[in-house]
């Protein structure tokens, strides 16, 4: 495999991942997720992409909105603090919908869970880092979720490592993957093959998109292992 990336990575290599949880005392749950980029030329400079996500106290919230007949009394609010760009609000909406789809909304009625994501440093792949950090924080807080979402960023590049387009993909990861005996499946397709969230930027052919889906799925296995190991240490 040729060395393509500027930092000496091959096509399938991920940046070194680091994850830690329970770092904040006041919050119900918290997690930090970082991807470290190392530049080959300057050994002194280390650019981190750290994301801390933490949950505030769950407080009772009287649900007086128009959807009084529905059974969704549980709100999930996401606050994304970066630099006040309109980017923030779009990311907030994507994060909110992703996390809403993995939480069980009916378990705690009349409650609001606030998820606050603080970006410490940005070196691209921001959205996928945020989703991963938020999921680990949810598990840390003990909020029951249907499955954990694992996010990854794949990019389609012309030769010469000029990025043409990129896609943020989030896949569900079944809790059954921790138990090796069986894995859940829906209509014969394993649940890991579905996509929770996909946001693309730039032009790519449809085939390239499906190819990057496969690569993303393969890479997400490694990403999940990082967070699973981290959470396993908490249980022991």
């Amino acid at each position: 495999m040729e060395v393509d990336g500027e930092d000496g990575r091959t096509q399938n290599q991920l940046r070194p991942l680091a994850c830690s949880h329970n770092i904040l005392y006041r919050a119900h749950g918290s997690a930090s997720w970082s991807l470290r980029t190392r530049t080959l030329r300057k050994q002194t400079g280390q650019i981190d992409n750290l994301l801390k996500s933490y949950l505030m106290r769950m407080r009772p919230w009287l649900n007086g909105n128009k959807e009084a007949l529905e059974f969704k009394f549980h709100h999930v609010w996401v606050w994304f603090r970066y630099s006040g760009l309109p980017l923030e609000e779009a990311y907030e909406m994507i994060l909110k919908r992703t996390l809403q789809s993995i939480c069980h909304l009916t378990i705690n009625p009349n409650t609001t869970t606030s998820i606050i994501i603080q970006v410490i440093n940005d070196d691209s792949a921001l959205l996928s880092c945020a989703i991963n950090a938020a999921c680990v924080a949810l598990v840390d807080a003990g909020i029951p979720t249907k499955h954990v979402a694992v996010a990854i960023c794949c990019c389609v590049a012309k030769s010469g490592c000029k990025m043409k387009a990129f896609a943020y993909l989030a896949f569900p990861n079944s809790v059954h993957s921790v138990l090796p005996e069986r894995s859940s499946s829906m209509q014969g397709k394993p649940i890991e093959h579905g996509i929770v969230t996909s946001v693309t930027n730039g032009i790519m052919s449809a085939d390239n998109y499906f190819y990057s889906l496969e690569r993303g799925r393969a890479a997400s296995v490694r990403v999940v292992r990082v967070s699973q190991e981290e959470l396993a240490t908490a249980l022991n």
Partner: protein
């Protein structure tokens, strides 16, 4: 009162409208079994689409697009400005998306709706990354003067598929855009001055006539809603609120994928579902291309 049969019993006693308000999902599922929607549309068909070009007379280019009841007005005004140092040969497009309170009872004055910045970001990403407009065409004098296109999109009515309608109105507005004739000259301080006069010997007119902008690879989009195994194309606002998994696919005229936007949602999208969405979008691209061409040729006849 047996719960599994509660809605069944009520459906024989209660009118359709009340049933629709109380159990919207069950009403839709009953219809989906017959592969049809409550408004008698088949699952894969989009609503009636119309484009009116030149809706705003004072703007350089404008269009009003309607998909069903969703209405969007896009208007472009051009202004000369100095290009940035990094791109001295390129003009600039400034995109602004507004959702005034007229569009929906949910939007209140002074408080922007939460959908607005999302659609705004999606629009600007799509327009800039699709390569529809070559920014170099907007350049006048390299390094000194270039066109800045102020693109304003106003949502006038919300009924689902906001992004589709907005993108259609932008594309139509750009295809109707006429870049005005500037007379650009340097005044004594060396600054660019735009003047409307022609015929003075010491000033050089840059353009002789109004010109249209060249659009390559126009993007078109289709929003679909996923519910269990069904894919509903072009949802109304009611459908979007009941079934929360929304997928937007943007394809350009050479069938390249410009954007695939699926922000979460309870239904997981498997590869087969995505392929179906892309196939539906391809059909829709052909329909929209035809509608746009008819609108443009209609204007030229006048």
């Amino acid at each position: 009162m047996g719960l599994p049969n509660a809605s069944g019993d009520l459906s024989t006693e209660v009118e359709v409208d009340a049933f629709r308000r109380l159990f919207p999902l069950r009403l839709y599922e009953k219809h989906l079994l017959e592969s049809i929607r409550p408004d008698a549309r088949p699952l894969g068909r989009a609503r009636e689409t119309t484009i009116a070009l030149g809706a705003v007379a004072s703007a350089n280019g404008s269009a009003l697009a309607k998909i069903g009841s969703t209405t969007m007005l896009a208007a472009i005004k051009m202004e000369v400005m100095t290009p940035s140092l990094e791109t001295p040969d390129e003009g600039c497009i400034a995109i602004d998306f507004h959702m005034p309170p007229i569009c929906s009872p949910i939007v209140r004055p002074g408080r922007p709706d939460e959908a607005a910045p999302v659609v705004a970001k999606q629009l600007s990403d799509t327009i800039l990354s699709s390569g529809m407009i070559n920014l170099k065409e907007l350049s006048l004098v390299s390094g000194k003067a270039a066109w800045m296109a102020y693109l304003d999109i106003y949502c006038l009515d919300v009924d689902g598929a906001l992004f589709d309608t907005a993108l259609l109105s932008v594309v139509a507005a750009f295809s109707y855009l006429e870049i005005p004739v500037p007379v650009v000259s340097l005044n004594d301080d060396g600054k660019i001055v735009l003047s409307e006069e022609q015929g003075l010997s010491d000033r050089e007119p840059v353009n002789k006539e109004k010109r249209k902008i060249n659009l390559s690879s126009i993007p078109f989009s289709l929003t679909c809603v996923l519910h269990k195994n069904y894919i509903l194309a072009d949802p109304t606002a009611e459908e979007e609120s009941i079934m929360d998994t929304i997928v937007t696919v943007v394809l350009d005229s050479s069938s390249q994928l410009v954007s695939l936007h699926k922000p979460g949602g309870t239904v997981l999208a498997y590869t087969s579902a995505i392929q179906d969405c892309i196939a539906l979008t391809r059909q829709r691209v052909k329909e929209l291309q035809k509608i746009l061409e008819e609108a443009i040729s209609g204007m030229e006849v006048d």
